[in-house]
């Protein structure tokens, strides 16, 4: 395979470009995704190729264009909703939960819902409380969504391609702190399947499931600990729905210890679900309490020192692993 370095954003854009070239029924809606190419350069260059019908700038009507795309997806086209910041689609939750997630079921599979909803998440850069949410637990809780949280360029492209080939609604969440991070990406076409976690580091001392931007910080923490002969296994779920529980159980079977690191809110979060799965199905493997490290349970403050206090740091991840091992 011929490889080249791409940023997360470029890799995801390449996936979109390839699929738009292949499938004329794909169109993108969003604010500034036309000529401007997207607030996060998600569509740069595509407007010149495909024009306004397929790269559709919208007024500020998140509910409106998501509801519109629902009808479009029911009638033979494949909308890609580029919502810029996930915070904005909260105005469309009624359409998402009551319509998008339920149409296939209510029609007994006679209607499909091939819609990809993509945009940025995460606390970084003093983006404050209306531009820093993640909000994925609500979409994991509700049946009918695929929830994808890529953590590197390779996965971003492969998962986005999978999203655009499927017939289910996909919530594709891109952490702002990862958008410019680079990895090697093959020239050749490839897909990353949903529901397949990545074991990004092997180890035997304990298992850490890290979500989104926490993968990098966890790997940094593991480097430090490796020096002390501590071998941590790190799992990146990649998709939160479906969640690859078997891979997590397998790892805990080996290590006997589990920590879940997640920037987002703890109560009823993804860490709670993972802990509940493991204590139900991996109970006998557990040598210690399952621990969770989450961002502080508060709206996101603007001021850098406050923001820094909210997001789990590499130091905190390291300490959390030490605490787990001390149990």
């Amino acid at each position: 395979m011929t490889m080249r370095e791409l940023t997360f954003t470029a890799a995801a854009r390449e996936a979109l470009a390839e699929e738009m070239a292949r499938d004329p029924s794909i169109f993108v809606v969003g604010e500034g995704i036309g000529q401007r190419g997207g607030n996060f350069n998600t569509t740069t260059g595509l407007y010149d190729l495909y024009g306004p019908m397929r790269l559709r700038d919208t007024p500020i009507v998140e509910r409106g264009f998501i509801g519109m795309c629902t009808g479009a997806a029911m009638t033979g086209t494949r909308p890609v909703v580029d919502f810029m910041f996930v915070d904005f689609i909260l105005d469309a939750v009624g359409e998402l939960i009551n319509q998008v997630a339920k149409i296939q079921y209510m029609s007994s599979g006679r209607l499909k819902m091939p819609m990809v909803l993509r945009g940025s998440i995460g606390i970084t850069g003093a983006s404050a409380t209306h531009h820093s949410g993640s909000y994925f637990p609500m979409f994991v809780n509700i049946p009918g969504f695929r929830v994808v949280v890529p953590t590197n360029a390779y996965d971003a492209k492969g998962l986005f391609k999978t999203a655009l080939r499927g017939d289910d609604p996909v919530i594709f969440l891109e952490h702002k702190s990862l958008l410019n991070s680079k990895t090697l990406v093959p020239e050749e076409e490839y897909f990353v399947p949903f529901g397949r976690a990545a074991v990004v580091r092997e180890g035997t001392s304990a298992t850490v499931v890290a979500v989104g931007s926490m993968v990098r910080k966890t790997l940094e923490a593991c480097e430090t600990l490796a020096g002390e002969g501590i071998a941590i296994e790190v799992i990146d779920p990649r998709t939160l729905a479906p969640l690859d529980t078997p891979t997590i159980l397998q790892s805990v079977h080996k290590t006997g210890r589990l920590l879940i690191v997640d920037e987002t809110f703890q109560p009823c979060g993804i860490g709670a679900e993972i802990a509940a799965q493991v204590v139900a199905h991996g109970f006998d493997d557990l040598d210690a309490p399952i621990m969770r490290l989450n961002g502080v349970y508060t709206p996101t403050p603007y001021s850098p020192p406050l923001e820094a206090a909210v997001v789990p740091s590499t130091v905190q991840v390291t300490q959390a692993i030490r605490d787990l091992l001390a149990e």
Partner: protein, 327 residues
């Protein structure tokens, strides 16, 4: 002479359709009293001319989106009385396989893309069908049926605007029956001229006598012609009245309607007035109506027996089709 000029067969087809809706719902009302309908039942009695006049112009490739009062729309689109009754009885032979009931009628095979228990979304989804039609260039139209109550909702504003600015082939049919449950339209807005409001979006709009099937047929025909010709959306404000309760089991007058008002509208019943009119204009004769009435009654009776004797869905299928098979 009455306009538009149709063949006798066409005139009678409109009559037949209205009678089919009426008889089916009278049967449903009885069935509700008899306890055959486990859930809600919102009848369309008094409003039959609207679905009939609009849907007479549609093919099964066109996409219809409706609301909680959708029996008439399903029937006028070619869903059979047996499928509608079976659905309300919760049987596997229902148009939604028993999963939906009165407020969730799905039959995409005939262009019935679904009714909804939530007020508003159908407006946006019809715009989406219009978007697909433009992108695919297949000459189809999207149609939304909704009540006066939906016109205050943000979905109305966002949906009409999107259809207008993108010249989408969509027909917005407001069934303005003066009340949203018990809330009068004149309380919900200071401007009861909905056609005027629609025009402020830069959209073609007509005020229509919703109890006159020929008036609806003519206005809808022009709107659909324009839509198929690429001339953008049309709004129909159809003035009508529901002569039964908001929902079966509720009082038909309640605290908000007077007997006089109800009687005045019953005197303008869309079926009897149309029948009289065809008779006086000598377009058709008693024998024609008698024949249709008998045929429709037989169809409804047969449908009732079919529905009543149909099986319930198998509980093992309860979680099927939440997602598409395609991965």
């Amino acid at each position: 002479m009455i306009t538009p000029t149709l063949t006798t067969a066409q005139y009678l087809a409109l009559y037949r359709q209205m009678v089919e809706i009426r008889r089916t719902e009278e049967q449903l009302a009885k069935a509700h009293q008899a306890g055959l309908i486990p859930g809600a039942c919102h009848t369309y009695v008094g409003q039959e001319a609207i679905a009939t006049g609009v849907c007479a112009h549609l093919t099964h490739e066109d996409a219809v989106f409706s609301t909680h009062r959708g029996h008439g729309h399903a029937l006028a689109n070619g869903v059979t009385p047996r499928e509608v009754m079976a659905e309300l009885f919760g049987r596997v032979t229902g148009c939604s396989r028993g999963r939906g009931g009165s407020m969730h009628l799905f039959a995409p095979e005939v262009g019935m893309m679904g009714t909804s228990g939530i007020v508003g979304p159908c407006i946006l989804q019809a715009a989406g069908a219009g978007y697909s039609a433009r992108l695919l260039g297949n000459g189809t139209v999207g149609v939304a049926f909704f009540g006066d109550g939906a016109s205050s909702n943000g979905a109305f504003h966002e949906g009409l605007n999107l259809a207008a600015i993108w010249d989408l082939p969509v027909i917005f049919v407001c069934e303005n029956n003066l009340y949203a449950t018990e809330v009068p339209f004149s309380y919900a807005t200071r401007n009861t001229d909905m056609a005027e409001r629609a025009r402020t979006y830069g959209m073609n709009a007509y005020t229509v006598d919703g109890n006159d099937v020929l008036a609806v047929y003519a206005a809808a025909g022009e709107g659909i012609r324009r839509a198929r010709a690429g001339e953008g959306p049309t709004f129909l404000d159809c003035k009508t009245y529901r002569t039964r309760a908001h929902s079966e089991g509720m009082p038909s007058l309640g605290t908000y309607r007077t007997q006089e008002e109800l009687d005045a509208w019953k005197a303008r019943d869309p079926i009897t007035t149309y029948r009289t009119r065809l008779l006086t204009e000598e377009v058709a004769f008693e024998a024609d109506f008698a024949l249709i009435d008998t045929e429709v009654q037989a169809l409804v009776d047969e449908g009732f027996d079919f529905a009543k004797s149909s099986a319930y869905p198998d509980p093992v299928t309860v979680a099927e089709h939440i997602f598409s098979d395609r991965q």
